[in-house]
Symmetry: C2
Subunit: 288 residues, 2 copies
């Protein structure tokens, strides 16, 4: 592995396998060709023209669109599409999270509709005499997704009805027992964006990166069972583990590479400096 390999691994989507869908003139997401038969049976909900799918324009408010999509997605659930991944948690559909809502959609359905998901990913670090250290959690071995892999200090998906910063504060408490007053010192320092495909599912996701400098005597504790254990690693060990292995969950590598860049661990004259920094922010579809 190398930093560029992690970026490529997070950007494995082949958009030629997908068709876009729209709410009015706004692209809301992408549908895999092999998923289209389940869409095409509902021409009242999705009409097809010029290689794109258009949500019924008579659904002229976010509430109406959310209700119609909920009924449709519940039908897909009954047919077993989402397996055990159903969450009963609404995600916001919008070009960017801070844009007006087009509609809301069950979290499990989001990658099937190629809708951009958001989430805060925080690097909790400690400044010591011998340099930076990062608190590294290992995901619970019971988690349905990526069990036992290494993770960012605190990370979570972004539900519809909470701000990104407030969501981070909540995740800090739940995942790492970081008290509110401390978590509120976290700083939004950028984002990573990538186009990840898994079979018929597409994740054109944007994760907001936060840094939180933690006191030397603070020890994060797993609280909600999502984390197996935390370890405090010298930044160089994190750097080498990201560079040389796949031990971290795929998108967490990008958050850490962004941390390495911002904290000056890469050199401007590195052959791949530009390609790495550029590769962390893929907001446009591959090939666009």
């Amino acid at each position: 592995m190398s930093f560029l390999d992690h970026i490529a691994r997070c950007n494995n989507a082949d958009l030629s396998q997908f068709e876009p869908w729209y709410v009015g003139a706004t692209r809301a997401g992408f549908l895999h060709r092999d998923f289209l038969p389940m869409i095409a049976v509902r021409p009242d909900l999705f009409s097809h023209r010029n290689g794109g799918w258009y949500l019924d324009p008579s659904l002229d408010t976010p509430a109406k669109r959310t209700a119609a999509m909920r009924e449709f997605v519940l039908g897909l659930r009954e047919r077993g599409l989402f397996g055990r991944s159903w969450r009963d948690e609404l995600y916001k559909v919008a070009p960017h999270f801070n844009d007006p809502t087009l509609l809301e959609m069950e979290r499990a359905a989001v990658p099937w509709f190629g809708v951009r998901a958001y989430g805060p990913h925080m690097t909790g670090y400690v400044r010591k005499d011998d340099g930076l250290h990062i608190w590294v959690p290992r995901r619970s071995y019971d988690k349905p997704t990526f069990p036992g892999e290494l993770d960012n200090t605190v990370a979570g998906g972004q539900p519809a009805h909470i701000g990104i910063f407030d969501n981070l504060i909540k995740e800090c408490a739940e995942e790492a027992s970081i008290p509110r007053a401390l978590a509120e010192q976290a700083k939004a320092v950028g984002f990573i964006a990538y186009w990840s495909q898994s079979g018929r599912q597409l994740k054109p996701d944007v994760m907001t990166c936060f840094d939180l400098e933690l006191p030397q005597d603070f020890v994060p504790r797993a609280h909600d069972g999502e984390v197996h254990a935390f370890e405090l690693w010298p930044v160089q060990r994190v750097y080498e583990t990201v560079r040389d292995t796949n031990q971290f969950k795929y998108n967490c590598n990008l958050v850490l590479i962004d941390f390495f860049v911002r904290h000056g661990l890469l050199r401007a004259d590195d052959r791949y400096f530009f390609a790495i920094v550029e590769g962390l922010h893929r907001t446009q579809p591959p090939g666009a």
Copy 2:
């Protein structure tokens, strides 16, 4: 002004006014339609097909291409194209600075050929009890370009035969009398990229951003006459000056906005957080 206005101002290029030119299969730059008559008179050097211009393929080494381009550009100089902007300084032509050289080209000619230029831009800051402060230089009133405007602490163009970091060390000494041992603590923390057009000239440039934390008792001094004076400003004053005015040289605003992002001065829930961070890294042509 706002942060997004500065990004838009740096990305004012209309690529429909340009045609690309190539060295082999690699796009080297862009030529303005109204500059093409000066190119078309040399079909031995540039051949036109499929809306693009191709440098004579018999120039099969960087040295041969550099020599042929130098002869051509000297002819343009004799016809007065470059006015007083001639520098006698070679820039590297390459998709990224750390890529292999396609050829080298006189600095004054670079924007006429729409070639990407590089350069280090460093923010020198001081950590005080009351927060960060930034050393802000005002450009000399005698400079031919952007006289009297505010600038990044140290910034310079990137000549061909020196690394980006070594170039920064040199500029630190020349522009701000920062001794080598101190300048070597500067950290490459990212880049900004934009597509700026001025008449027939195009600057699809990439500037490497550096941070340097300076001791509280260090005072930069103008050395080579390029800087009128340095002032130490609280970061909030810099933030407001960037946000509300055009006092900084156009591209220096983007370097400072990147600094504000990385140091956590923007909020994740700001309506324009994503658009701002995304807008700092425009490596692809507008409309691409």
